[in-house]
């Protein structure tokens, strides 16, 4: 298994400062702004959207429209680990539906939802383009190929353990939105 890396999310105040300092406020910077904030906070809180509205002088409702149009943007806090199950053709015929079902049962979340402890978010993706490795499960930026239910479940448990260890080491409370973001790289 690869080493775990730690990356922190920043707070809302800092994100607002970021919008002010890194952008001029042109309307065409809207999508980069949204991406930057989401990258920094993990999602797009309403206050940040309102700040973007002020900066770009676009109506807040327009920005909400853009945010909800693109699948890449999220309006709710996301788990520290985003589990994406590929639902492309190759993965489907290799049993990705079973993997997905198993994760749902195991974590008690439906696709698009985050576990109560804020650790995992489950998502589905139409195709990762890694069909040779089908079925594919991606956790944050790491691709796991040739998966099955058992392997996936083991992976999840492993992440949970390592996360616990890092939290213990860094002394950050579990579920803190501004706490840790860990991914394997």
């Amino acid at each position: 298994m690869r080493a775990l890396d730690v990356k922190g999310f920043i707070g809302l105040e800092e994100a607002i400062e970021l919008i002010r300092s890194e952008f001029e406020g042109r309307p065409d910077e809207l999508i980069p702004m949204l991406q930057r904030v989401q990258n920094a906070i993990g999602y797009l809180p309403e206050e940040a959207l309102l700040e973007i509205a002020r900066a770009t002088r676009l109506p807040a409702a327009r920005i909400f429209g853009v945010v909800t149009f693109y699948a890449q943007f999220r309006l709710r806090p996301v788990g520290k680990y985003i589990i994406r199950v590929c639902r492309g053709t190759a993965c489907h015929v290799s049993g990705s539906a079973l993997i997905l079902q198993d994760i749902q049962n195991h974590l008690q979340v439906a696709p698009g939802q985050t576990t109560k402890d804020g650790l995992f978010t489950l998502e589905t993706v139409a195709c990762f383009g890694s069909c040779a490795l089908a079925p594919v499960v991606v956790v944050n930026d790491s691709v796991y190929g040739l998966m099955d239910s058992l392997k996936t479940r083991k992976l999840i448990e492993e992440i949970r353990e390592k996360h616990g260890a890092i939290v213990a080491r860094a002394g950050v409370e579990k579920g803190d939105r501004n706490g840790l973001r860990i991914f394997e790289g």
């Binding site: 309403e46 959207l49 309102l50 002020r54 002088r57 676009l58 109506p59 807040a60 409702a61 327009r62 920005i63 909400f64 429209g65 909800t68 149009f69």
Partner: protein, 976 residues
């Protein structure tokens, strides 16, 4: 513009270059179905119904987005087009409910019309029909509902809100099948940025957006809105004797695009059960000023003869005993020009006094005084439509989007779509400030310092218009010298505005080819009101921004007919048309016309009348359509004055707080029940038309006055309002050409000298009315009241979008009252935190003159150290707090600056007899250190042990416990 000729269905049509093919089709008189198109909106091309065949073009382009070209050959309908259109409509219907029979909008439903035209087929619709139509209906808005199931996503509402209203409260959200017109965050409309103007409802082609109470009117009457000074034309939809619907009358130059929430939804006061329908006479056993549970119990109903006799006798008695100047007449800016003319004529000719004034004294008296001195005309110099052609708009002391919403929209559109630059000077971060290029949030009452600072910068940078100054103005040199006192550093310190911003404002304004200044009460309602306006006039003359399109001096008049009331001479110093009462020639003219000897003594102003009642100089008042008990500064004092009067007559449509003090109350008609004219802020005289018969026994104001006058030995005989205007035209040069038959199409802007004169959209074109424009030296003077330790907050007062002045009309509107049902005070987060005040807390606000209770609203709109309150509520009258000190020249009170303190209401009650709590409350940080505390007291206070504290100070209310805990934390007792 060059014309382009094209062929449509074989017919040649010429249209201006830049038109769209759809424009040409419409011009040819051919019907092409559309669902997303409207002439006021930019072409959109969403519904795809307006597709046509154009020779040489591939496919079927949408005619609404295709510009015309010379020689185009267009076919509007082919079999293929028919088929495609039918499918498009069927797809829309497939997602639409079938309940047309019970749909409020089916009469005007565009979808239904289009479906009929293209011949939608049941079988095809059924095949594509969505299984369930169960999106939640948003019924949160008090005026209208949004049913997304009926929405066809044409985007008209979204575009109207963006392009016309400039608000952008709604937009498309989500994607594909799930696309929805939606507010930010998907909130209910009532909690969103929506300002409830209902423009979207007006344009929605289906029943998706529909008014809550839809009653189809029998007929529509075109008239003018009775709320603000913009003077929007509207169509009153009448069913029986009731106004059931209000729409904008679009063919006019004032409000081409629509109405605001007050105009559209705020007119149900006309039919409100509270309307007075019979004259009232005070009961002998009901003394004035005594608090009764039901004010109506103080009065008995009387017939007109008795009431009018009583009024005539009462006034005659005071006149005979104390002289005519012991009577004051307060006219009304809510009434028509004709009413005002008759009222001032009654005061001057029948009573024999110039003691006639109206509420302009409280809003733009300083404008009239200053602009007469600087330019020779006391009114807005240009037209509202000039906003569209200005390069720079400087809005100072005007919360335009709330107080003059339709002008506010124009400003927003000019900034968004015409590239106009916007400078906003306002202590508060108002809506316009958010979109401004420069926001100067100066301290209240430092307008002159700010404007002089900007002007000095303009002169230093050599940006002023030397040609204009030398050729058209006078007294420039002393003015120029006076600016030396306003270097940037000094102005920065005086106003609290960063020097960079002042420089930026000077650059933007100085460099503009066409710049206009728009201002409101923020400039006028100060002890320096007249000087403030003179500073505005100086700025415009200095930069040569007068007399041309897109420039100008724009005082935004408050009331619907405050301009007209001034024009009609409802002022103590002038006859109609600003002809001075002190001028013997003028007086002779009026004496001859009115057949009475007229007084040459200028009368008392409205504010002076109230002050001199206490000195027994005014003994009787005749108040028409005004509510001074709430609108006067230091309202308690004003109320005391009214109680002291020997005789008070109030003529109104409701039993207002003032009417409750009256001896006789005369029921008048509302604007909807009479003919007449209103003059709006841009000097446009517009026709007001009778829509319904007078309610009950109510009578038109001028008729009531004429009857009183006749009983006092001065009959006035007029057959109609038009008849009165004929007399006005004869005696008033600036209204010389105003005749009813000329006002049918959009009205005329005065000065209009004679029958052939077309009116004057722009004043001071080649020369000023007074000849040369006069520069005045004006200097910064602090407001009369500055914050002190006891009263640390500066209170600013004003209006909000949903209500009107003392609320006698707007509080009786179902929708307006639902949107804004209680008063509040805007207070900064910093001050709130320091005072331990939370959002929604009931707070007590006190000034040196009184105390009111209201709800706290924490906001970033006001700066720390400042607060804002609207004066619309009788149960929290902001004017109990305001300072009655007057501008020495215009006698306008300083409504905009009063020092106050705010405190949690529960705390104030508890602190009254509790030294401990009052010490904590009065010293926002650190007081206990100076006390010699026993260890047990100290530990209880340190730990916030409420139970222990309650043992010494008695039981505390829950909210107070929370406050105390927070307050004790600020003490930092541990450090001691």
């Amino acid at each position: 513009m060059k014309a382009v000729t094209l062929t449509i269905d074989g017919r040649a049509i010429s249209v201006p270059n830049g038109s769209t093919v759809l424009d040409a089709i419409r011009k040819a008189g051919i019907y092409v179905p559309t669902l997303c198109h409207d002439a006021v909106l930019k072409p959109y091309g969403a519904c795809r119904l307006c597709i046509v065949q154009i020779k040489g073009m591939r496919g079927l382009p949408t005619s609404c987005t295709t510009p015309v070209a010379e020689g185009m050959v267009v076919t509007t309908e082919t079999e293929e087009i028919q088929r495609i259109r039918r499918t498009i409509v069927e797809l829309a219907i497939a997602n639409h409910p079938y309940g047309c029979l019970v749909c409020d909008k089916s009469e005007e439903c565009e979808l239904l019309n289009v479906a009929r035209y293209v011949g939608a087929q049941q079988s095809s619709v059924d095949r594509m029909r969505r299984a369930s139509l169960n999106k939640a209906v948003d019924t949160s808005n008090p005026a209208f509902d949004f049913d997304p199931n009926k929405c066809i996503l044409c985007g008209k509402c979204v575009r109207i809100c963006n392009e016309v209203v400039g608000r952008g409260a709604i937009d498309f959200a989500y994607r594909g099948q799930n696309t929805l017109v939606c507010t930010f965050g998907g909130r209910p409309l009532a909690l969103s940025a929506c300002q409830n103007c209902g423009e979207c409802v007006e344009y929605c082609p289906t029943g998706a957006l529909s008014a809550k109470q839809t009653i189809i009117p029998q007929r529509e009457v075109k008239t003018v809105c009775p709320y603000c000074g913009v003077g929007c034309s509207m169509l009153l939809g009448v069913r029986g004797q009731k106004i059931v619907r209000v729409r904008a009358a679009k063919e006019n130059s004032v409000n081409t695009e629509g109405l605001c929430v007050k105009g559209r939804y705020g007119l149900d006061f006309v039919n409100h059960p509270d309307r007075l329908t019979r004259p009232l006479i005070r009961r002998d056993d009901a003394p004035k000023g005594a608090a009764r549970r039901k004010p109506a119990d103080d009065f008995r109903e009387a017939d007109w003869n008795e009431a009018l006799d009583r009024v005539a006798q009462g006034l005659a008695r005071v006149r005979d005993e104390s002289g005519a100047d012991a009577i004051g007449v307060i006219s009304s800016a809510k009434c028509t020009n004709e009413d005002n003319y008759i009222i001032q004529k009654f005061a001057r000719a029948a009573l024999g006094t110039n003691n006639v004034d109206h509420c302009a004294r409280l809003c733009h008296a300083s404008t009239v005084a200053a602009a007469l001195a600087a330019f020779g005309d006391g009114a807005m110099s240009n037209s509202i439509s000039d906003i569209d052609c200005a390069n720079v708009l400087f809005v100072i002391g005007s919360n335009t989007t709330e107080c003059h919403p339709i002008i506010g929209r124009r400003i927003k559109r000019a900034v968004k779509f015409n590239g106009a630059k916007l400078i906003v000077a306002d202590p508060r971060s108002i809506e316009l400030a958010e979109m401004a290029d420069v926001h100067l949030n100066h301290f209240p009452g430092t307008d002159i310092a700010l404007l002089n600072g900007i002007m000095r910068e303009i002169v230093t940078r050599n940006l002023y218009d030397k040609k204009f100054v030398t050729e058209r103005c006078e007294d420039f040199e002393p003015f120029l010298e006076s600016l030396d006192r306003y270097p940037l550093e000094a102005v920065e310190e005086a106003t609290g505005v960063a020097r960079e911003k002042i420089q930026q404002a000077a650059m933007v304004f100085g460099k503009a080819k066409r710049a206009a200044v728009l201002y409101g009460m923020g400039i006028t309602q100060h002890t320096t009101g007249t000087d403030n306006v003179k500073a505005v006039a100086n700025l415009l003359m200095l930069t040569g921004n007068l007399g041309r399109r897109g420039t100008g001096f724009s005082p935004l008049r408050g009331q619907n007919n405050v301009q007209g009331s001034c024009d009609m001479g409802a002022l103590p110093t002038v006859f109609p048309g600003y002809q001075r009462v002190s001028d013997p020639q003028v007086r002779a003219k009026f004496e001859q016309a009115w057949g009475r000897k007229l007084s040459d003594q200028p009368g008392r102003t409205l504010t002076e009348m109230f002050q001199t009642i206490h000195d027994d100089k005014i003994k009787a008042l005749y108040v028409v359509g005004e509510n001074p008990t709430l609108s006067e500064p230091d309202a308690e004092h004003a109320k005391g004055a009214l109680a002291k009067l020997d005789f008070l007559v109030v003529q109104d449509i409701f039993l207002t707080e003032t009417a409750q003090m009256a001896d006789v109350v005369l029921p008048a008609t509302s604007f909807a029940e009479k003919d007449g004219t209103f003059t709006n802020t841009e000097r446009r005289v517009q026709l007001v038309r009778k829509a319904i018969e007078p309610l009950g026994e109510t009578r038109v104001d001028w008729q009531i006055i004429a009857d009183v006058s006749a009983r006092m030995g001065y009959p006035m005989n007029y057959s109609s309002a038009a008849d009165i205007m004929e007399e006005v035209a004869q005696l008033t040069p600036i209204y010389g050409g105003i005749h009813y038959d000329r006002l049918e199409n959009g009205g005329l802007q005065w000065p209009c000298w004679n029958r052939r004169h077309k009116g004057t959209p722009i004043l001071h074109k080649d020369k000023f009315t007074r000849g040369r424009g006069k520069f005045h030296v004006v200097h910064d003077n602090p407001p009369a009241e500055l914050p002190t330790r006891a009263y640390p907050l500066v209170l600013n007062t004003g209006r909000i979008l949903e209500h009107w002045h003392t609320g006698s009309m707007s509080h009786r509107s179902r929708v307006l009252e639902a949107i804004a049902s209680e008063s509040s005070i805007e207070i900064s987060h910093v001050d709130a935190a320091q005072l331990g005040i939370e959002e929604g807390d009931t707070v007590s606000v006190s000034s040196r003159r009184g105390t009111v209770r209201t709800k706290a609203r924490k906001t970033g709109r006001v700066k720390p150290g400042e607060a804002f309150m609207a004066f619309h509520w009788w149960d929290a009258p902001a004017n109990l707090l305001t300072n009655p000190v007057l501008d020495p020249q215009a006698k306008i009170p300083e409504f905009k600056v009063a020092s106050v303190r705010t405190m949690l209401a529960v705390l104030e009650r508890a602190a009254e007899d509790n030294a401990f709590l009052s010490a904590l409350a009065e010293n926002p940080a650190g007081i206990l250190k100076s006390y010699d505390l026993t260890p047990e007291h100290r530990s209880a206070l340190m730990n916030g042990d409420i139970a222990a504290i309650e043992k010494w100070v008695g039981p505390l209310e829950e909210r107070l416990k929370v406050w105390l805990k927070a307050r004790l934390k600020q003490e930092n007792l541990a450090e001691v």
